[in-house]
Each structure stands twice: as structure tokens, then as C-alpha cells.
């Protein structure tokens, strides 16, 4: 099942322990507490549940949901 923007936001909120409504689409998620361990958690989760093939470096290079969406093949 392909990822959606909504699902990305929900998963990011989950690893950060925040409300999805508080996670912006265009801001640097590092400022919201995203770290390498949490990015690795997302990489693993999305590989397992959605068959994506992004690497840690791909996500860490531009840590914002809107930047990730094309890498993850997500639609709004």
C-alpha cells in the first residue's frame, strides 16, 4: 500500500510523541526533535509496511515532510 502524506505525518508524529496536527509539512523536522534513531525507525517501518526503499541519508538530507513525499512516492 502506497504511503500518503497523511500517513507520513501520522508516523512522524508517532515517533516524536506529538499530535499530527502540530507537525508542519515544510519545516525542518530536526527542530521538532527528529534524530537519527527516529529516522532509522521510520526507514524501517516504511520499508516493512509500504515497501519503500529510501535510505537514512535520503531522509536525513532534507528532513521535511514535503521533501520526503516524492522520495516515498506519496500522494496527498
Amino acid at each position: 500500500m502506497a504511503l500518503t502524506l497523511e500517513q507520513i505525518r501520522a508516523d512522524v508524529a508517532d515517533v516524536l510523541g506529538e499530535d499530527p496536527a502540530d507537525i508542519p509539512g515544510d519545516e525542518n523536522l530536526v527542530d521538532y526533535g527528529l534524530d537519527s534513531v527516529r529516522i532509522m525507525t521510520l526507514v524501517e517501518r516504511w520499508r516493512r509496511e509500504h515497501g519503500t526503499e529510501v535510505t537514512f541519508v535520503d531522509l536525513a538530507e532534507k528532513p521535511a515532510i514535503e521533501q520526503w513525499a516524492p522520495l516515498l512516492g506519496a500522494r496527498a
Binding site: V57, A60, E61
Partner: protein
Amino acid sequence: MTLTALNRPVGDAPSRHPVPAGLPLTAAQSAMWDAQARGAACPALTTAEYLDIRGDLDPDLFAQALHRTVAEADALRVRLVDTPSGPRQLPVDVGAPGHGFPLHTADLRGERDPQAAALAWMRADLDVPFDPAAGPLFAHGLLRVGDRRWLWYHRVHHAVLDGYGHSLVARRVADVHTALAAGREPAPSPFGRLAALVEEDTAYRASTAYERDRDHWLRHLAGRPAAPTLAARTAPPSPTTLRHSAHLDPAASARLRELAASVRATWPDVLLAAQALYLARATRSEEVVLGLPMMGRMGSVALRVPGMVMNVLPLRFTVPADATFAELTRQADLGVRAARRHRRYPFADLRRDLGVRAGDHGPAGPPVGPHVNVMPFDYGLTFAGAPSEAHNLAAGPVDDLSVNVYDRADGSGLRIDFDANPARYDAAEVAAHQRRFLHLLTRLADGDPHRPLSQLPLATDEERERVLEEFNDTAVALPPTTLVGPVEARAARTPHATALITADGRQLTYGGLNARANRLARHLTGLGLRPGTRAAVALPPSTDLVVALLAVLKTGAAYVPAAPAHPVSGPHDAAPVCVLTDTATRAALPDAAPPAVVLDDPRLTDALARQLPTDPGRALTPQDPAYVLQGVVVPHSAADNRLRWLQDAYPLEPGDRVLTGAGPGLSACEVLWPLREGATLVLAAPGAHQDPAKTARAIREHAVTTAHFAPSALALFLDGPEAAGCTGLRRVLCSGDVLPHEPVHRFHRALPDTALHHHYGPAEAAGVAHHRCAPAAPGTPVPLGRPVWNTRFYVLDAARQPCPPGTTGELYVAGAQLATNCPQPEAERFSDDPFGPPGSRMYRTGDLARWREDGELEHRGRTGDHPLAP
């Protein structure tokens, strides 16, 4: 190969000046450059690791992959030179394998232990410093240790590469090797350029984000505590690093991850919180600041540059005694998140902003304590199908302590390295801290994170057993007794032996002294003295004083010395039945003094002559007060325990002559000890404690073998040139307060053949510790010593849990020599002894101390004071 990026200056250089060659250093590189300039040297400035590769490997292909990867990574191929415009990095040519490429290859399969031989070679290689100005600043080794096993060794100057950079290099070498082995052209280089790194760094320093980040950190560190340290001493950074590696077992590692998930944190947060807890407990601080190394690459071009980027950020914790681990983990999580928002601000700039002074360990000292560096990545690399495991060998310079945690998927659990500055820690200390930290992690993993941590001990079970039992193994069965019984026995056996010599040379035999004391005792009994009552004694050091002391004890009453400077009966004293004094002293006594027994009154002399000179009958009174010193009530059993221990530790013989403490008043124990053992008591002249020459003359003239001094009086005595002439002294006993090292040093110089013993103890627990002072270098602190017979010491942390050896805590004492009572506010210092037999008590000394590994106590200041410099 051309290196255009390196040759191109960044930004618009002023055209009138010649453009300096190469590139400036990034902030992270500068920090390492400065460390080197401050005297740090290789190997501490090296980072190194090796990959254990299991399988078939073509060493020539591997060398090609290595060379190709290095050629792609311009950040690696630099040398560092100082120029008038600051340090610059210049490109350096690196030859092909076999033509100058720094790759050492060896087949160690012929060695008895090939892996050990390989590791030995690596360690030796780590000691060879790089020449920054010459370069290259990296080196490789490929060591064959089995038919299908290879160790790839890689070391780099830390100004060139950090830990994450190592992983980038290793991954690319593996990919290139795998492609070459399959006959494929490797994928294009994933690496970014060094120039991009420098450019990003330069842009950041000129940005408003830089200003914002600085403001954040200065606010965050306002009122910061001194950097916590576990070290017993201060010292500058060393050229080497002391490393102890250990693994947290896989089960405990897994439980820690579950614990982290249960409180919605990550397992690195748990490790940070645990280290904060450990530090806070071990340093008695409610606030600690850890150093948090950050890979510093998120959202940055640096993610693809194998260079030096990492930064260190302060992580401040508040650790109240009753905090829960869930709360501490939450602090770690929030703290790391906040730090991450301001992650780029260079640590070196922060030190500068804070005005940190090198060598200062107070509020102007370093802003952070030990670093906790969590590396959550396993490489999981394969080389043409051969799997590998990465092992770190060196992680860079260490000012104090760095806890490096590696999560590598080899099934061995978390690897937890303690890297220490060897000038501050010895191997045993590092090992002990590491063992304790792992023990703490295991307990946390097994515990409820929502329970207060106040009951969680820092010491391991083995350490607890050692500090509570082994160091306090002092039990000796003693018969119940009174203090004066042994004096009477001596008088009966050797009535003609000399018991007493006064300052003016008059002598009194045991028979004579005992008879005088007996007559006075019988008289005092007639006045109502008996067990449970008190008699004040206001007399100068004299024969009369000794007689009075013995007489009061013979009645069973308690002796209350009352120097004229002190009121005879304070508000806390049970009122004395009478005061024993002389005509001269009586005039200085307050009007409200109890009835006086004036020893030089002729009417008393007549009355005493009518009393019998034989020993009066006495009940055994071990628990009754023997004397009361400024309100502190000391029972017979406590004083007797002390005197028996003294006699066992350094036996007095009848030929010994013992000079009493040259101070105001006389200590009951100092008087009684020689008289119980058949030795001779020598009374110092009044005021002799302020006159070293007088004291020395008394020691020489009366052939004194044993002398008592208060610490201050000893220092004064040693000021005089006469002290060195007192060579007949066999031993000097120094009692009471903490003994500074300076008089001890002078003592051994003046009297090299005389033993110096120190007896520590407050009035409420006099003489509870003993230390024989050995000659030591100036500046060496004098230990408090070990507990005497039937005495136990506890060094407790803020949660009243026993501190392990080496950790400072508050000193408590329990056992036979405790006073039974004392005035407020000191009375509140007594409490139930939770570690002793039921009903026993302990006394809080107010001193800070720590156990040495050998079971001696060291003094570390007073509670409420600033702790001593670490």
C-alpha cells in the same frame, strides 16, 4: 587528478590581497586544530576503527576500491598548515597502491594468535603521530588473520574525519569492492565536496541563526553548575586515551529498549538519563551538564561528505533525590530536542562566549562534564558477499571522560566504552565506574521507571558488601569494665613505680596517687557522688587534676572538665553535684557554680586524712557516663573501647613516659591510658602548648617516649628548631580534627624515626579512625584512616545509600565509641543505624569523605562547603 574545489577560494576574496591557497577549516576542524595547538597530540587526536571481514576477499581488488574511494573523497586528501590568515587545508597527492598509498598489508596466519597480533599492530600504529603539515592524514591496514578472515584497519586525524565520516567511507569501499568483484563499474560517487562543507560552515557563521543559537546556549547555561567529574584529580588533556570496553548483555539491552519505548523515548535518551543519574549521585550534585556529541549532519550537505563535522552540545539535567527514571528520561528527550534546534553552534565558540579558563574547574571551568556519545548505527556492510562487523579503536581526544555507546548488530548487546583521560583516571577507576554504570543500567532496565530513584544504590552488591562489611570488619569482644579498675590493679602490683611527673619535676608513685584518689573519692561519695551524677572539675593541669579525675570516676560519677573559660554548668548539663577546684581557680568561677570542693583548702586536707586510702567498692558501670565534654556524654564503655584499642595498636610499657596533650585541660583518655598500663604520665607545663621550646625541653628532660598533640599544637611545635632534637620520642599521637598534610611533611623531616599516628573523630565519636602517617610528598592529603575496634563508618549519598569506593559522600560513624548524648543541635545528628544490629545508632559527622580501595577513608571537606577541587 585535479582538485579544483580545493584550489578555489570560497566567497569573494578581497582582490588586493593574494588569495590564500586551499580552504579555511570548519568550526569542527578548528576545534581539533586548537586541541593540537594546546598540546594534545596523536594518538588522542586520531579516530580509528577496524572492520572484521569474514569471507573470501581479493586484497588487490580491495586496495583498488580503497584507492578509488579516497580519490572520490577530497575531504580526506588534505594536509593542514598554519598560515598568516589562519590554518588552511591544502590538497595532498596520494599515490596508487604500491606507489605510496598508505596501506599496510600483512598475512598474520602464521602467528600463534593472528587476531591478537593484528590488534597489537594496530595499537602500535595508533601511537605514530600524523604530521598535519605533510599529510596524508589517514592510513589503512589490511591484515589477514585467517583463511577467510580479514581485518581492515583505518585511522584518520580527527581534524579530517569523524565517526559518521568513517561509516561513509566504509560503506563506499564496500560498495566499490562489491561492484569491482562482480566486474561492474561502481555507481557514481555519492560524496559531496569539502568546499560545500566549508561554504555551509562559513554561511552559518554569518547568519542570524548563529546569533540565535548563541543566545539560546548562553540562556541555557545561565547559572550553570561547575562541570561534574568523576575524577579524583585534575589534569590537562593527555596525548593518549585510556579505554575500557564492555558489553551490556543482550537481554538487558533489549529491556532498556523496551523501557525507552514504555516512556516514549529512544534508547539513547535512556543512556543519557542513566549517565546523568550516575554523575549526580557520584558527585553529590542536583544539577549536572553532560556533553552531547552530535553528528551535526541532519539536513546538511555534510550528510554525504566524509569529513569532520561533529559538534558537542551541553545537556543540562536536574536530578533531585526523589526523581523517577521516567522523569529523567523525559528530561533527556526534551533536552536533546532543544539542543538539536541549536545544534550547529560550535562548542569552541560557546567556551569562548562563557569565558572558560583553561585549568579552572569551578564556575568558570568547562561547561560540560563527561561526554555521552551514542552511535546507533550498525554498518552491516558486505564486501562481495563477505559480511563484516565494525569495531571502534579510537574516538578522539578526551578531556575528562567519554562514554561511547555502539549499537552494532553482532548480537552482543550494546557496547559501552569508557574512554578516559589517563592523567585523571587510572585503569582501576575507569573499570570501576564502567562496572557500576552497567550495573545501574541493568537495575534500571529491571525496575519500574515511575518509582522514585532514592532507593537505587550506585554501588554494586559486591561494593556494598565491601564498604559496609569488609572495611568495617572491626568487631572485637571486650569485657564490661570501668575505666579506673586497671589503674587500681597497677597500683596494687607496682605501688612504687612512678605514675606521674609534673612539669616542675615532682614525682608521684602509683601507690601514692591511688591512695590520694581513694581518700578524695570516699569524701566525694559522702557529698552524694555516685553513678548517674556529675562532678565538675575546674583545675589547671596538675597532680590535683589527675587525682580529681580518678576520684570522680571511682565514685561512679561522671567527670565534667570545666576550663575557666567555659561555664561549669551549661543549659544542657545535668547540674553537677559539686565542683572540684583550687583557691586560685575558684575566684574565676561564676557565682552560680555548685558547691565547691577546694583541693588546697587545709580544712579539706584534714578531712581527707581521716578517709581510708584503700580502693572503695564500685559497681560495674559500662553504660554510665564517664565524662561529659561540653555537653557530650561519653560512657565508660566508649572510653574503655578506645583505650583497649590504643594499647593493642601500640602497646605502652612500664618504661614509657607519656606527655599529655599540651593544651588547655586534660583529656581523660590521655591521662588514663598510661596509668592503666603502668607507664608514667608526664604533665606538660601550663601554657606549654603555645611554646614549642618549653614542650621540647619537657620531652627531652623527662625522656618522654610518647606525646599527644592537637593538630594545631603539633604544627606550632614543629615551628621550633627544638623539635628535631626530640629523638627519644617513639611515637606522636595527634587527635581530633583533620590533620593537614603540611605539618605531617615537616614532622617526618624533623623526626624521621618517630611514628606519627592520627586519630580522627568528632567529640561525639572521639578517636574512631586511625591512620599511621607515612612520609609523603608535600601536598599529599592525610587520610582519615580506618575504623578502630567495634567501629563502623558509612559514606552515604544524598539518598543515604552507601557510596562505592572512590565516591565522595557524607561520613557517618557507628559503634562502641559513640557518645550516648549531646546537646542540640548536634543531638539531631544521631539516628538509627540502618546497616547495624537492631537498636544501634549512627552519627552524622558533617564531614565529606570517600573510601579508598584499600579501606582507608579520605577527607573531602565539610558538608555545606564547596566540595574540594576534584
